[in-house]
Symmetry: C2
Subunit: 190 residues, 2 copies
């Protein structure tokens, strides 16, 4: 698939068929993640691939708990009707874990120690593009408490869960959400 | 260009020819950035396009200052010979600025208020892929003090500079840097 088409067509998929993801396709998606750039080429990502129904259920329950908590904290009413069933439906969850010990020069900076997360985000974007290019749906999901997710996945406390990539065959085509024009987002110093 | 080819071939370019970037190409690169996903579709990015030689020089000087500072802080000897002349050479710098007020539910979390930066990182990755697809070189650069960069670019203090994308025609093809295999980076909970 053309790179422009992949970038423009990729959308967050929130409804999946139960059919499994072909292991070769999953392999290519993970490989796409590894091609992301990273500070000092530290490749600070780890991919935890969750297919176990029990563990996906635990992630779902954590998201539900986090949703209720966020509803209280935020007062945002839309969270009442926000369903996270796609965490149960998607046959594969790829949890992207970052390693803060593999960041760049920003480790010494006041607002720093975050470049390793940026690299993980670039890896997630690559994975979403790769999934779309193979006709799979993907969703970048972050509604979880990091400490709780570490517990569920047995991740050491030094590492940082950056996002969950839900993967599977789309039940229906995701709704295309519009974007503001680049010109509205751009200021030029010429 | 095929999306796989773009992801696999894209490399950090650190040497640019002085030829300007075609405005249409730059427009497409910025548009590619806007196609990134973001929390609650907040599109928390702003793109500051710097073509002014004076302002590029100021960014270069800030990077040199930051390099000397980082050399002291880190004790990393490689910083002695790390040249940042590409900041002067590259005809276009796109500084990607994030808006912390446009993050997701993570604004309420202890280790949060960072999802807007992840979205900016995804936008940067899209821009780098787009640049490569058009035969341009790109570099994701972060050696700057955020407060100083805000000053140079007249960015309000509430906003967060996430990265500088250096763009131009490559002087020579970047060296392909290898990656660890995805299998080495993956743990499966099946």
């Amino acid at each position: 698939m053309d790179v422009w088409q992949a970038m423009q067509e990729r959308r967050s998929c929130r409804s999946f068929r139960p059919d499994p993801v072909d292991p070769k396709a999953l392999e290519r998606i993970l490989e796409a993640g590894t091609w992301a750039p990273s500070p000092l080429n530290t490749q600070p990502w780890q991919f935890v691939v969750v297919t176990s129904p029990e563990v996906r259920e635990a992630v779902f329950q954590e998201a539900e708990r986090c949703r209720a908590w966020a509803r209280e904290e935020s007062g945002w009413e839309w969270l009442d009707k926000y369903r996270v069933d796609f965490l149960r439906q998607a046959p594969v969850l790829v949890v992207v874990i970052g390693d803060p010990r593999k960041t760049g020069v920003d480790r010494f900076q006041k607002e720093g120690n975050v470049a390793y997360q940026h690299a993980c985000a670039a890896a997630i974007q690559n994975m979403l593009l790769a999934a779309h290019a193979m006709g799979l749906g993907g969703l970048w999901f972050t509604l979880f408490d990091r400490a709780n997710l570490r517990g569920i996945l047995e991740v050491e406390k030094e590492r940082m869960p950056v996002g969950i990539v839900c993967l599977g065959h789309p039940e229906k085509a995701p709704r295309p959400i519009p974007r503001k024009a680049a010109s509205e987002k751009t200021r030029t110093i010429g």
